[in-house]
Each structure stands twice: as C-alpha cells, then as structure tokens.
C-alpha cells in the first residue's frame, strides 16, 4: 500500500516515525523514509512527525479484488451500549456474505467496557470481533476513530465495510473511504451482492424521487452506510464459534486533536425509530382540536406522535419527530397516518412498517398506494370514534 507520502523537503530524518511505528513498517531507505507492506495506515507516524513531513496520499488504481474478502461491520457504541443498528448491519452482512462465501467480522472502538460489548456480538455469528479499547477513545473523536478502524481494515482487507448511517457513522465513514481512496454510498436502502463481490448499492436520489443503483468496480473496500431500521436484525445462532480479538492500541493510536469537554445525556423519550407504534399528523390535521385527537390516539395506543415536514416547519416539533427524507426513517409494527398525502419523501422512509393504516379524505392521495388499510374519510370523524372505542375498552 503506497498511501503514505513523505515530503523529502520537510523530513529532518529524525527517525521518530521509524521508532514509533507499531508495525515496523518504516525504514530508512536510499531516498529517505520508506514504507513496507506491514503498514496499517494507523497514522501514528503522521502524529509523531514534528516536521509535518508525513501525510496520507490516496492514489487511484485498480485493486486486485481477490485480495479483499469478507464483510466488516462497524459497531457503534452509544456511550456504553451497542447501538441497535449494529445488529441490523450484522444481519445484512450475513445475508450478503452467504452469496459469495464470505465471513462476517466486526470492529468496535471505545473506552472502558468496549471489550464487554464485543463479547455480546459473538452470539450473532460474527467470526472475529476486533476490539480497540483505550481511555483515549472516550466520547466520539472522528480522527482517532478513523485511525483505529483504518488499522483494522488494513490488516483484515475486507471487501465490504458496513457502517450505520447515524450521526456518528456518517462522520466516520467519509474519512475512512477517503483514506482508502475508495467509494462510499450513503444511506443505502437496499444492498445486493454480485458473484464477483461487487456490492450493488441502492439508495434514493434527488430527494427520493428516484432510486440510484451504485457500484464501486475498481476499488476496495466498498463502504456503505445504512440507516437504522432499514435492514433485518441478526438472529442469535446456536453454538457460536467466533472470537474476540483485542488489538494493540498504543497511546499514539488513540491520540486525537479533538478534546472531549463533556458528555450529557439528553433526557428524552424513546426516539421515534425505537417506537413500535406511531401516529403521524399531516397537514390534514388543521387545528388544535385535530392535534389533540391524534395526540390522544398516540397516547392511548402507547406510541408516539410524529409529523410530516410541513407540520414540523410550522413549528410543531423538531426533526427528531419528523418522518421522511430530511427527518427519520421508521419501521414500526403499526403506523397510522392522519391527513398525510404520502409524498415519496415521506413514504419512502416509513413504507417498511409492518402495518400501515392511512386516513385521508382524498381517494386519490398517494398514501393509498402504500397503505395496507385504506380509510377514505374525514379524520375528524374517524379518530374521535376510534378513540372512544379504545377508551371504553381500556376501562372495561
């Protein structure tokens, strides 16, 4: 891998990089520092070079695909817990891996407790979980997290790397794909595997009006991010045989130029992605009275109320309660839409729901193309009656 660039005009030949390289990948050559195949692109040399003579330089070039095998899943930790998207990525990785006979691996980076979380993944049929645990990884720091995952990728050479399209995943993945000079497809909604190990990545484009099918034919690894609640969660398997591999983390690897000053939990209800039952208010909900009706329905069903974009824009909440392309993707057991027209930017982010009930007084509205149960009627007639029945049932 010839990714490291030495600026001979800046290098003062102090040998610091040679000494600090954890993999003995550097040596003094005829024309200055040289790098060999042991390099893991962990960027320790970049960090220790006082002359700033070392940088990463990505070069385009066709790789030998047969050297890149397996699927690596990045396991995000949400301050101590495994982010549930990780289990969905493992599920998807297994499905894709089966087609071409790949193994599924995982990499997890973090501070204390990371190895404990890694153990939990074995039950899901992961062959190896690579653990980078160090107190320097406390919080999320895009730069040194990139270094750690790069270290794992350079060692394992996976064909595919799957990362959750969370705020953390979307911050990490572009750095990784840039460092390896390869392609990254954001927010994939569907993944397929070709016989030749090319990953077929499908995602909405142009605000969801069109689906784009994207390939990375000449580079490896193939990076894809996938939103939470899009893929099927992995099942536990019987007699798992995977192992946890604790990777060597030097202080240099965990060194960051981002200082975490504080982490606060946001006191919160469940995120709408985690809810099993959702009621959505669209612009058909025109007033306070309507709002109270749908709110009452959500509460009585033990779910949450969320909104279409125009409703959020008119001040009814934050984007964390907006379903759609510029909001959240949800996949609850039940979703009841009230006065929602069902524009593609909305419906493409909830049409994976198990049961969709749509209430809209316009028989031609698009929501009826995706609803499982269609009620063409005035929501101000339907919802009060429904509420009344639910409440009497509860009292009984």
């Amino acid at each position: 891998m010839n990714f490291i660039h030495f600026d001979v005009n800046k290098c003062i030949l102090c040998r610091e990089c040679i000494e600090k390289c954890p993999f003995n990948a550097l040596c003094m050559g005829k024309n200055g520092i040289e790098v060999n195949d042991a390099c893991r692109m962990c960027s320790v040399c970049v960090k220790v070079c006082s002359a700033e003579a070392i940088s990463f330089e990505q070069k385009a070039g066709v790789v030998d695909k047969s050297e890149w095998n397996g699927i690596l899943v990045y396991i995000e930790q949400d301050h101590g817990d495994i982010h549930p998207v990780a289990f969905e990525l493992i599920g998807e990785a297994h499905r894709l891996a089966a087609i071409v006979g790949f193994d599924v691996y995982a990499v997890i980076v973090g501070a204390d407790g990371t190895e404990n979380n890694a153990e939990k993944l074995i039950a899901y049929g992961v062959k190896k979980v690579f653990v980078y645990e160090h107190k320097g990884f406390y919080g999320f720091k895009a730069d040194c997290y990139t270094d750690a995952v790069s270290d794992c990728i350079a060692m394992l050479k996976p064909s595919v790397v799957l990362i959750g399209a969370t705020s953390v995943g979307r911050s990490l993945s572009p750095r990784l794909s840039t460092r390896f000079h390869t392609g990254l497809t954001a927010d994939c909604t569907k993944l397929l595997m070709s016989e030749n190990t090319d990953l077929i990545q499908i995602r909405p484009a142009f605000g969801g009006n069109i689906m784009a099918q994207i390939l990375v034919e000449d580079s490896r690894p193939q990076f894809a991010t996938v939103r939470y609640k899009v893929m099927e969660r992995a099942e536990k398997i019987e007699n798992p045989v995977g192992e946890v591999v604790r990777c060597n983390v030097t202080d240099y690897l965990a060194q960051s130029r981002i200082k975490v000053c504080g982490i606060k939990s946001i006191h919160r209800k469940k995120m709408i992605e985690e809810e099993e039952i959702l009621v959505v208010a669209g612009r058909g909900v025109k007033d306070e009275k309507g709002l109270n009706l749908v709110k009452g329905l959500a509460e009585n069903l033990g779910g949450q109320l969320c909104f279409t974009r125009p409703m959020i824009e008119s001040g009814l909440g934050d984007t964390a309660h907006q379903i759609g392309l510029s909001g959240r993707t949800v996949k609850p057991k039940l979703i009841i839409t009230c006065g929602v027209s069902g524009a593609i930017q909305f419906s493409s982010c909830m049409n994976g729901s198990e049961c969709i009930i749509a209430i809209n007084n316009d028989p031609n509205s698009q929501i009826f193309n995706i609803a499982h149960y269609c009620i063409v009627d005035n929501l101000y007639e339907i919802v009060p009656r429904l509420l009344e029945r639910i409440q009497t049932q509860k009292e009984a």
Binding site: A142, R175, T178, I390
Partner: protein, 262 residues
C-alpha cells in the same frame, strides 16, 4: 482568522423522472438555488468573524452559472467568492469532489476554519465535509448544533452523538459541518448588494491547481459509478375499509384488537 465556507448550488426543485425507455433522467425545471443547509454555514462563519475578526471566503465547485449564488453570498457579507469550475471536474463523486475542494482550499492558502453545511438537498450524503478534513489531515466535528466558544486559536462545539450530546474542542486548523437551526441565516442585504456589485468572483480551473493528476478529478477520479436510475416501486396487498364513518372506525378498532395492540 481565515474562514472558508463550502457552499453548493442545488436544483430548486427535486422533481425528476426516469424516461422508462431510455432509462435516462428527465429533469423538470432548471432553476437553481443555494443549498439551504449551506446558508447556516455562511451565517456561522459571519458570526465567528464578527466575534474574532478575520475574513470569510465562500467556495464552490460547480458550473460557471453559480454567479447568482455567489452574489447572494456577497450580499450576506462574505469577503471573497471563489468558484471552481472546469469540464474536468464534471461527474465527481464524494472522493473527487472533496479532493477538488481540498485542492482549491490549498490554492487559497489554506484556512484556520472550514465550515460546511450538514448536507446538500441533491447529493444528500453529508459526506463532503468530513472527506475534505481527511484530505487535509485536520480534525473535524460534524452536525454541530451549537458553538460554545471561539477564540483566535480554538473552537468548542456541541454535537449530538447517539442519545447524548458531546462538547468537543479543537485547535485550528479544523473543520465543522453545521446542523440546521444553529443560527437563523440572515437575508441578503440590499445595501451590501450595492456595495459589492463590482466585486470580483474568482474562478479557478484545473490548470490553476497544483496537483494535475487527472485520475483524481471528475468522473475518472470517482470510484463510485451510478449504474442506473429507476422509479421506486409501490407495494401491494391492500384493503379498503368501507362503510359509514362509524363503521370504518369500528373496523380499525377490531383490527387493532386482533393484532393485540389494544
């Protein structure tokens, strides 16, 4: 303090259709506007300049017709507007776009702080910012929702990570991408418009850049290839519930009861 804001022109409407026969895109409407998320980036840059002094440069890569967007940027108060435009840049994906912008930033003499929007409404990837940071070898924080403190040598920002919020501090040079609602973007000012009417927009093309390796720009420098575009399918298995309003409501009730939801 030198701040560079990366902004992009996007189609004013997202209405596109695929021609069923040829499989190519039929774009309806040619109007363009500034990516709405980038207005927050400009606003953040201007506020930082007001606080610690310095200059704000707006940078874009795109077709020549970005003049209007750059005039708007001048009218908001940026000091310099730079457009990177060249047929060789066409067809760039994330890697090639971020590399080109990195080359542009380098040509401009670098920056203490680079600010990007959270995402674009057409690309919608939120990847360009972090990718630029990686090319430059500088740290970044994405989706910043609040700027806590900024001095001449460091910035402290708030970002949401999972179900927590994290406050992070970085020394310059660094990059941030800002979330919507960080500030309310100011409107273009008529007065500034008059004052900057004769101000130049600087154009940069391929031949100006120091790295002239063609394999890193445009379509050739883009590892991702869009194989095809298609209209999303609609699902089936539907049932219309009929009757009077009361009967319909009762049917939903029975349905929910059968599914053990109530």
């Amino acid at each position: 303090m030198k701040i560079i804001v990366c902004i992009k022109q996007v189609p004013a409407t997202m209405k596109v259709e695929v021609d069923a026969e040829s499989g190519t895109l039929k774009r309806i409407g040619q109007n363009a506007k500034t990516n709405p998320y980038d207005l927050y980036a400009i606003e953040a840059a201007l506020r930082i300049r007001e606080q610690v002094g310095g200059s704000v440069t707006a940078l874009t890569m795109g077709p020549q017709q970005t003049e209007e967007m750059m005039r708007d940027a001048y009218m908001m108060g940026v000091d310099e507007a730079v457009v990177m435009s060249d047929p060789k840049f066409a067809g760039s994906d994330v890697l090639a776009t971020s590399f080109t912008l990195f080359q542009g930033i380098r040509l401009l003499g670098g920056a203490d702080l680079i600010i990007c929007g959270k995402q674009t409404t057409d690309g919608d990837t939120a990847q360009i910012g972090p990718a630029i940071a990686e090319h430059m070898g500088i740290p970044h924080v994405a989706w910043v929702s609040n700027i806590e403190r900024v001095t001449t040598d460091l910035i402290s920002v708030i970002q949401k990570t999972g179900s927590f919020i994290q406050e992070s501090e970085m020394k310059f040079p660094c990059l941030i991408t800002v979330d919507k609602d960080i500030f309310v973007p100011r409107l273009p000012s008529y007065r500034l418009g008059l004052a900057t009417a004769n101000k130049n927009i600087r154009f940069i093309s391929f031949k100006d850049l120091s790295d002239k390796n063609m394999t890193r720009y445009g379509l050739i420098g883009s590892p991702t290839k869009v194989e095809k575009m298609f209209q999303p399918e609609s699902s089936d298995g539907q049932e219309y519930i009929n009757g009077t309003s009361i009967e319909k409501a009762d049917s939903i009730f029975e349905l929910l009861k059968n599914q053990k939801i109530i």
